[in-house]
């Protein structure tokens, strides 16, 4: 019996195939490890960014403590730094941007999904998305050389004379006709985030089932009523997600704001006064920072910006996901 087995030679092709299988399996698991490592690298990049900035800003955080968040100091000579002015500027410019961009983006999405004739939708949509592709430094330059003079010469004086005299909100619009300032930065930011918000809105508006809209039309609704009462409630979470996506962009935008904000470390009520934002402060002053505590304060500002945008963008992602989940359920 044993002799028989020995007599049957194993064909070389089988041996080869076995060896081949083994080497394929090795290559497969190696491949799997490589791509998994690349996947982990993405996770690592974000956590690394957060931790490195926390590390870089530790000196500022430990020196100034929580007071860092509420202090308006920014004194490079006496090494006293506080984040309140940049935080205020970031929030105010982003708020102005959203006040303009959200309704306009909604209008654009509405136009592109319900109003415009079919031949118009593609080119107009592509043009709006082209706005998103223009580098932010171009916005900044255009803002500085073209938009700022117009704001300074015509818009600011007009605001001063007309709205500046109103009680309470008048204080927001009183100031020197410099052209640079929070209002200008907010408007430039708005132009930049409009394509992001409107393209999200357009996409989610298109996901509304036609029969829902047709039912509403059949009951005699006007187009506006269909959009306001059917489309918008159906896509509410994703629309909010799109708005927060735009907000995340507006908060972290650097170059466009740096050009037109004026880099002034002063807390002022007026929107026409120059101010500062977190990103603009870092961009302007980082290479000039001459002491460790100065540099550490700037990195700490970066850390704050990162945390805020992380929260805003996470919220945006969750809201956007809710719509796709709801669609999946059906």
């Amino acid at each position: 019996m044993a002799a028989d087995t020995a007599a049957i030679a194993i064909p070389s092709s089988v041996v080869d195939a076995n060896r081949r299988n083994a080497s394929d399996a090795r290559a497969d698991s190696l491949f799997r490890w490589i791509v998994a490592a690349a996947g982990m690298f993405v996770l690592l990049a974000l956590t690394g960014a957060a931790l490195s900035m926390l590390w870089g800003g530790r000196e500022a955080f430990s020196t100034f403590g929580f007071g860092f968040l509420f202090s308006t100091d920014w004194d490079a000579v006496n090494h006293k730094f506080g984040a309140l002015v940049p935080i205020y500027g970031t929030l105010v410019t982003a708020l102005i941007a959203m006040l303009i961009a959200v309704p306009v983006s909604f209008g654009i999405a509405l136009f592109l999904t319900e109003v415009a004739p079919n031949w118009m939708r593609q080119p107009v949509g592509a043009a709006i998305e082209l706005l998103a592709g223009i580098p932010s430094i171009i916005y900044g330059m255009w803002g500085l050389f073209v938009f700022v003079p117009i704001m300074g010469e015509y818009v600011n004086p007009w605001l001063n004379d007309h709205i500046g005299t109103w009680p309470v909100i008048g204080a927001l619009f009183r100031g020197p006709p410099l052209g640079i300032g929070m209002l200008t930065a907010g408007i430039v930011l708005a132009i930049m985030v409009i394509p992001f918000i409107s393209s999200v809105m357009r996409e989610v508006f298109l996901t509304v089932p036609t029969r829902l809209k047709e039912s509403a039309y059949a009951l005699g609704s006007t187009t506006w009523e269909v959009v306001w009462d059917i489309v918008l409630p159906y896509t509410r979470s994703a629309v909010i997600g799109g708005v927060f996506l735009g907000l995340g962009r507006a908060l972290g935008e650097t170059m466009a704001v740096t050009f037109v904000l004026g880099n002034a470390h002063r807390l002022s009520a007026s929107l026409l006064e120059p101010g500062n934002s977190i990103a603009a402060t870092i961009a302007n002053e980082f290479t000039e920072a001459d002491s460790d505590i100065y540099r550490s304060s700037l990195i700490a500002l970066g850390f704050l910006l990162f945390i805020v945008t992380f929260i805003v963008l996470s919220f945006a992602k969750l809201m956007l996901k809710r719509l796709s989940r709801q669609e999946g359920v059906k």
Partner: protein, 286 residues
């Protein structure tokens, strides 16, 4: 129809008409800024174009020159970023689409990648600053390329992931049933089918980094002279634009506009090209 419902009907029609008109005005508003910004950039930039741009170095204050060293620096650092970012991005996208499709880890990576995609670029610059510049003690082209690679990465991950998921699963099954190992299926079947999409992603990433300024400010810094040494500070077009546009000198302004023109035209060409690739691919699939 009664008088009341007649009036109500008219009111609804007026509201409808007004709002639809406003939506058209919003679209016109968006287009208006696009045309204005492009018009200014192209007109002023074209007026500032001259051959010297491409062979003279960035000048000292007040005098005339070109931006050859900045163009070269931008080119080198962008290529470096693509070379670093693309393989990692494609591999990570493959992991998401092929190995971690419905798993929690895949969802987590996808989530983080989307955050990275919209995260402020200046923050990534600070990250590379503490990671590389702080450790090596000097600004360098490597650091610049690395910070740009961090911007390329999420774009490539996202498009690779999406494009691989579009590949019909019959193709995978057919190849696997012939006994082809999975890595070969991925490399020779899936990548080939998803290639136009992945290339589009890389082009979009290139468009994004070619105008990117903020992270370069404190990684590559700037350099007034020609350098091909990645280990030294390097000039780049966006940083030169930033520096020159903020200066009080007229001749620097015109160089900044010329730089802006070059960057804008490049970005527009890339976006047209990537659209064309996607479109052609769509047509051939039908």
């Amino acid at each position: 129809m009664s008088d009341v419902s007649e009036r109500l009907y008219r009111k609804r029609r007026i509201i409808n008409g007004w709002n639809l008109f406003a939506s058209g005005a919003c679209a016109a508003f968006g287009i208006f800024w696009l045309v204005w910004i492009l018009w200014t950039t192209l007109k002023t930039g074209l007026a500032a174009m001259k051959p010297a741009l491409f062979y003279q170095m960035t000048p000292p204050p007040g005098s005339d020159g070109g931006i050859a060293n900045a163009l070269f620096g931008s080119l080198i650092m962008s290529l470096g970023a693509i070379v670093i970012g693309t393989p990692i991005g494609v591999a990570a996208g493959t992991y998401l689409a092929e190995f971690a499709k419905k798993r929690a880890i895949g969802e987590a990576i996808r989530f983080v990648n989307d955050i990275l995609l919209s995260a402020p670029s200046i923050v990534l610059g600070l990250f590379v600053y503490t990671l590389v510049v702080r450790q090596t003690g000097h600004f360098s082209g490597y650091a610049g390329a690395l910070s740009l690679a961090l911007i390329v990465l999420p774009v490539v991950v996202r498009t690779t992931d999406e494009m691989l998921q579009l590949v019909p699963s019959q193709m995978r099954e057919a190849a696997l049933s012939l006994g082809v190992p999975q890595w070969k299926v991925t490399m020779q079947v899936l990548y080939r089918s998803a290639l136009p999409g992945i290339v589009t992603g890389i082009l979009l990433a290139l468009a994004r980094i070619s105008g990117e300024t903020a992270p370069l400010l404190f990684t590559a810094l700037n350099n007034q002279y020609w350098t091909a040494d990645l280990n030294s500070p390097m000039a780049s077009v966006p940083v030169v634009i930033f520096q020159y546009a903020m200066s009080p000198y007229e001749s620097w302004h015109s160089l900044a506009w010329a730089g802006a023109f070059v960057v804008t035209v490049f970005v527009l060409l890339l976006s047209v090209l990537s659209r064309a690739i996607l479109l052609r691919n769509k047509v051939s699939n039908d």
